[in-house]
Symmetry: C2
Subunit: 167 residues, 2 copies
């Protein structure tokens, strides 16, 4: 396999993986492209390489920056903007995890708390509902906290976690 082929395969795979995890394909592809680029890349080049429109590139780059995993860079004497991805994988995982927690898990927790707090009247159905949603609330809260703790280790959190688990 030659470089161009490998790069393309990587970008396609990363895009497909993104889709399966609720991230739009192009967004994941742009991220993949930036991840393996040693130099900052211009919007023009992203459009060219992924064969996408200007609008699409612009919107997805904005989204990636909102996630905090892609940065704008300015080159001296160049009017154009260039983009780079967060390349430190520990940091990348921490940011994605924080963002998903904030956007998706926290709001879900709020709802779980609400619905598990209803007056459970006589019926077995209602009792079971309250019991099950309460368990779910506790579980999700605990998982969210664990993730938070783990990623707080900062440098090399994954390796540190491996060590903790092993011993």
């Amino acid at each position: 396999m030659e470089f161009k082929e490998a790069k393309n395969k990587f970008v396609q795979t990363w895009g497909a993986l993104g889709s399966q995890w609720g991230i739009n394909k192009t967004m994941a592809q742009i991220h993949a492209l930036l991840m393996v680029s040693s130099e900052p890349v211009s919007m023009e080049d992203i459009m060219e390489e992924l064969q996408i429109s200007r609008g699409n590139a612009s919107m997805n780059l904005r989204a990636l920056m909102d996630w905090g995993i892609v940065y704008k860079e300015y080159k001296a004497g160049e009017r154009r903007e260039f983009f780079t991805a967060e390349k430190d994988l520990d940091e990348l995982a921490v940011k994605i995890s924080r963002e998903r927690s904030k956007r998706e898990i926290k709001p879900a927790l709020k709802v779980l708390k609400e619905v598990s707090s209803i007056e459970a009247n006589a019926t077995a159905e209602e009792k079971h509902f309250v019991e099950q949603t309460t368990k779910l609330y506790d579980f999700v809260l605990k998982a969210d906290n664990v993730l938070d703790k783990i990623t707080e280790y900062k440098d090399n959190w994954l390796t540190k976690l491996v060590i903790k688990i092993m011993k």
Copy 2:
């Protein structure tokens, strides 16, 4: 909030959360419905409660069973099939994690290994590509293994993990 309202809110929220994580909305809603039902539910009732077609119900129930998180049940003297969800949350999380690893992470790892193994010729770009994809391969492999180890604790793995991390 009364029971019916709470139940509906829970089902809707679980459905929306599913979408954000790449699981089709109806599939997540059916799962939510079964999670909080104390008794097995017939396909007819699922269709009625979620206002979906027979085909949709059938296909998504099949998918949930393929994931191993919903079971068919037969009631004595009843021709119809009934469905229940895995209600143990530890077990549920383990199954989802195993399944996503098998379906999505493992194939992605295979590609990462492939593309990181190309002959890195002279250019800095190629060198960076190999370096970055190799790091990514190591990271994803390690994360996948950690998840596997954690869920191996079986009963109460999440609580056990909390304890390990805290001390």
